[in-house]
């Protein structure tokens, strides 16, 4: 249990997707002009991460990782399909994003109107793919740890994009040197926020 909470806190703060690994930067920069759209995209990212990362974990554990096929037939214990993981992960992500889009459209039209435009964007959001790849690299022990990790990194991404959107709304009123306006200052502010987030380093529960 402690381990699960620890993974969650680490994923939100010390190993924040945006500030520590720069994942999902494209949509982070493009959609962070107002808080409303930013939180819409943020929620969509949390949603998709929590579904795709555990699914990819199960696929990796029971099909792709070295020797994983032994449960099907003992003589397949020597096969190693892990080189296929990139293509499987991205296919799963693209398929699940499509599925989520259809389900949300039918089941919750209100939510679809808010999230809908962001869902196709998410298939190529590096944060989603990054979540699956980090899951593969870090070798979590069971599916609960993976769920806690994916929820944590989703919420970390949500926090980051809402925070930068709020700052950018305020920035509209400040007097920035002209060549630095827009993109340049956003990068520098993200860097400064990243330095602030580094102070969470070393927190253990």
């Amino acid at each position: 249990m402690e381990q699960i909470i620890n993974i969650f806190v680490k994923a939100v703060f010390t190993e924040n997707m945006v500030f520590a690994f720069f994942l999902g930067m494209c949509s982070y920069l493009a959609v962070s002009k107002t808080v409303k759209t930013a939180s819409g995209l943020g929620i969509a990212v949390v949603f998709v991460l929590v579904i795709t990362v555990p699914v990819n974990y199960l696929l990796y554990k029971y099909i792709l990782s070295p020797g994983a096929l032994a449960w099907l037939r003992p003589e397949w214990a020597a096969t190693d399909l892990s080189f296929l993981s990139f293509i499987v992960f991205i296919a799963v992500i693209a398929a699940i994003v499509q599925l989520v889009e259809m389900v949300v459209e039918k089941a919750a039209p209100g939510l679809y109107n808010n999230l809908g435009i962001f869902l196709p964007l998410i298939a190529v959001n590096c944060a989603i793919m990054g979540g699956s790849l980090f899951m593969q690299e870090r070798a979590y022990r069971n599916v609960w740890e993976v769920i806690s990790y994916s929820l944590g990194s989703g919420i970390g991404w949500f926090l980051a994009i809402v925070a930068i959107a709020a700052i950018r709304e305020k920035l509209g009123y400040s007097n920035i040197p002209k060549p630095l306006r827009g993109l340049g200052i956003t990068f520098i502010i993200t860097g400064l926020m990243g330095i602030a987030f580094m102070s969470f380093m070393g927190i253990q529960l």
Partner: protein, 204 residues
Amino acid sequence: MNKRIFLDPLFKNNPVSVLVLGICSALAVTVKMEPALVMALSVTLVTGFSGLIMSLFRNTVPNRIRIIVQLIVVATLVIVVDQILKAFAYDVSKQLSVFVGLIITNCIIMGRIEAFALGNKPIPAFMDGIGNGLGYGMILVIVSFFRELLGSGTLLGYRIVPQSWYMGNGGFYENNGLMILPPMALIIVGLIIWIFNAGKEWSK
């Protein structure tokens, strides 16, 4: 014509500083120059060949499934790059860890396929891909140059700042530890964009 397609993305339409594409996956690899160079090369190859392949397929792939086809083509190329790196440059591939896989979701690749390769002949599409990959790699190499020089006092692993200058050896110099932290990459990119834009204003 081809020359312009090739050179434009380096300066005038640099994918990172002007079009804001593809910063996603790669800034985390800019602490040292060597992984940054390898990353730049890998991305250039993938953008070039994915442009070439998708341009060859542009009339045969139905519009509705083109995103999936693009993802599969790009993912296959990335797997090839990953296997080559694992075979010939194992240390660097360990340093790059997940970021090789993240080339798949690099927005430059999908962006250039959508914007250029699907509407043009294979050779220009290939040139466009290579040019954009290099434009992106250039930013990576510039960032890693400053981070390695100021953060570790070396370039490509060779010592630039002499040992005798360091505090520990009775000198006056100390490495800037801040440069090694991930957020500094963002700040340096911000400064590069500032300089690019200021240069544009100035030359008007």
